[in-house]
Assembly symmetry: C2
Homo-oligomer: 216 residues x 2
DNA sequence: AGCTTTCCTTATCAGTGATAAGCGAAGATT
DNA sequence: AATCTTCGCTTATCACTGATAAGGAAAGCT
């Protein structure tokens, strides 16, 4: 695709990058259907119509493929957040809408969300996070932090408050979304009510009424 | 152990239930060391000093063993929460202490926490939750809800509010803990500050100052 | 002594992710 | 045109996984 890419002056023959796309799309579809853990490399290869070892020409291993999908998931979330910033809204209403973007992303694309935040790789230790996923996550988080700071201008009194608030809010939203996704059978309250109540609680803590100083 | 247990009048020979305990303990230790996904049934059997198929005399399969550990994790959390209720505290301070119990449990016993809330089984679809884990989770949640309602007596105005609040708070705490556990490499803010700020934000939303009506 | 039950073994299975070796055809080189 | 090179793929195979089958050794009861 890029002539700068290699020492060879010859153009790549064609199928290469497209095959890679085919594989990624097929994998995501299968993961959505049957769950990430249940899909084998043979399943993916079969869906694309190639043999299983052929995958390894495009991805070093299975986890590498998952990483790629994780990066895409982060990218998608980032895009959604960026789309909102056009409106130069501020205050409570904007805060609520901003949070809804995160929540809606998780609920509409549960598999992408899982890829990004909840995925436990098979081989490595649980805590060992892929550097690529870490980088993608950091980038997305910076976007999150930036937009949030713009929306919530009041209440950011101490230095470093913006980052702390962003991490706190992110964690809160993640808790909501991840529990919904991981424990579907649980008798959750009506989801809309739940979202509203939760965001209100957060907003009540964030946007204190005039003349009232929040404790601490 | 219990004479009511079977039709046989003979006493069980001994090792049975103890072996089961041995296996569970060894499994939990290995999971803590190497991560849940990285530990095989042969590893567990080897740690106990028996052959791999011998495990299946005590557990139907690997997931069954994980389920057992999940139940124990829930039980441990429940115990911790119940321990606090002795003090008949109320109000904001009690709320903060209550939340700390949950957080501390997750941070002190990360593997138990993962068992209970973050575990993706290998075989089944991700959403398909083991009924036993569901039951254990429900029981623990009821404990959570009950204690919380006692602590936060004000602010519970609408019917069903207690359950909604409990689910909301649980989700918020889970978000914090699970992200810490799953993304250790992330440049988190100082944890103590983080906890304090987050709980304050929640408490500010919950315990509105006198004479101020929270929006909505 | 003989029988039953318990707890464990070895042997083996299908399925997994991954690697090695090689094959055929499309471009490049002569 | 003939040859060479490289690419994209195949088949064969590996070590390992969770799980099952079949059987053995020994403890305790009759």
């Amino acid at each position: 695709m890029n002539p700068v890419e290699g020492r060879s002056t010859r153009k790549p023959r064609g199928r290469g990058p497209e095959r890679r796309e085919e594989i990624l799309n097929a994998a995501l579809r299968l993961f959505s259907q049957s769950g990430v853990m249940a899909v084998s490399t043979r399943d993916i290869a079969g869906a694309v119509g190639i043999s299983q070892p052929a995958l390894y020409a495009h991805f070093r291993n299975r986890d590498d493929l998952l990483t790629e999908l994780s990066e895409r998931a982060f990218s998608e979330l980032e895009q959604r957040m960026s789309a909102l910033s056009a409106d130069a809204m501020t205050g409570r209403a904007a805060f609520l809408r901003f949070c809804r973007i995160y929540i809606d992303f998780g609920l509409e694309q549960p598999d992408a969300y899982r890829m990004a935040f909840m995925l436990e790789k098979r081989r490595s230790r649980f805590e060992t996070l892929d550097p690529r996923i870490l980088a993608a996550g950091l980038k997305t988080f910076q976007c999150f932090e930036e937009r949030l700071a713009r929306l919530v201008s009041r209440g950011l009194t101490r230095p470093g408050e913006a980052r702390l608030l962003a991490q706190t809010l992110w964690a809160g939203l993640h808790g909501l979304v991840s529990l919904w996704l991981a424990r579907r059978e649980f008798p959750w309250a009506d989801r809309e009510t739940h979202i509203t109540r939760y965001l209100d609680m957060l907003a009540d803590g964030l946007f204190q009424p005039e003349g009232v100083t929040p404790r601490r």
